[in-house]
């Protein structure tokens, strides 16, 4: 499972989940650094 996090113009976040190869699965997001995943739209 993969996550892509964006920040909307009004400041709210949105997370797109995609699902590929099981071997690439990532753990729950608590260990992720949100800032690294964010981009502005």
């Amino acid at each position: 499972m993969h996550r892509r996090r964006i920040r909307m113009q009004d400041g709210r976040y949105m997370i797109f989940y995609t699902f590929g190869d099981e071997a690439e699965a990532v753990p729950a997001s608590t260990k992720e650094k949100e800032a690294e995943k964010e981009r502005d739209v």
């Binding site: 797109f16 729950a28 608590t30």
Partner: protein, 335 residues
Amino acid sequence: MSELRWNPLLGEWVATATHRQNRTFLPPENFCPLCPTRPGGFPTEVPEPTYDIVAFENLFPSLLPIPEPPAVEGTPLYPVRPSQGECEVLIYSPQHDTTLAQEPVEKIDKLVRVWTDRFAELGARDYVKYVFIFENKGEAIGVTLHHPHGQIYAYPFVPPRIRRELEESRAHRERNGSCLFCDILAEEVRDGRRVVAENDAFIAFIPFFARWPYETHIYSRRHAQALTDFTRDEQRALAEVLKMTLAAFDKVFNLSFPYMMVLHQRPTDAPEAYDYYHFHIEFYPPLRTATKLKYLAGSETGAGMFINDTLPEVKAAELRALVEPVVWTPLGGSV
């Protein structure tokens, strides 16, 4: 304007959220805010042409990570507090006219994994004590958007219904040395008449004490407290039992069955402190016939005592006869 007001009669918080009066109400299909934004089309809340599953902060939240101060001043009798927390929307599919029941088991499996991720992330926030995942489906329940979606409320307190379950299960553990939910599960399996669907890891049944005609609960066979406790195989098994149950619901009256679906998990403030609790899902479908609703009237609302016009044993047999086995299709096709 939003705040939490204390109800000293019931010992629980009530949220005021006046801005929610303005939320989108049953828009026409071509102006659905949860559909993807198609090239050249109406700009929806999701600024991309497609997606698989999306989670985002609710545009009309009743709880906020950084809330405004309360609009009124509290008193010793009437405490108030900022409505801190989080409200998310989870869109299950880019397709407007589908439902979770119609989706293949592979999609439900994906949703279970997203639920798990959201529980872990939101539960890790220091101001969150309880992560409540739910779905309101159907106009009979009062949905304002038909696009298939669920919601998550991350509360700054343990909500009263969960608190009561926690208290009862802790007292049961102290009295009997066993998990209340494991004991209910054993009783339902032993009796068998109220079982609806099952596999090696989960079982769906209409409990002995059901308040709604088709109230269905799904328990994990293993004593676990939250989605994050489940193995990958158990996640798939949960998706299977969900698919069997949801598909059976739609066959009862040959219509898209309305329901409230709620996930009951341990609080997130001190995970190790709730080992007496047990993960489960509860469905409250409001239909008692194809055209008649079960209303929460005087006794249910004013006294808290539900009157069920049906027998759980009869309704479970009805549902059980409609359950079909789930077939996984590796390429993600329908089952």
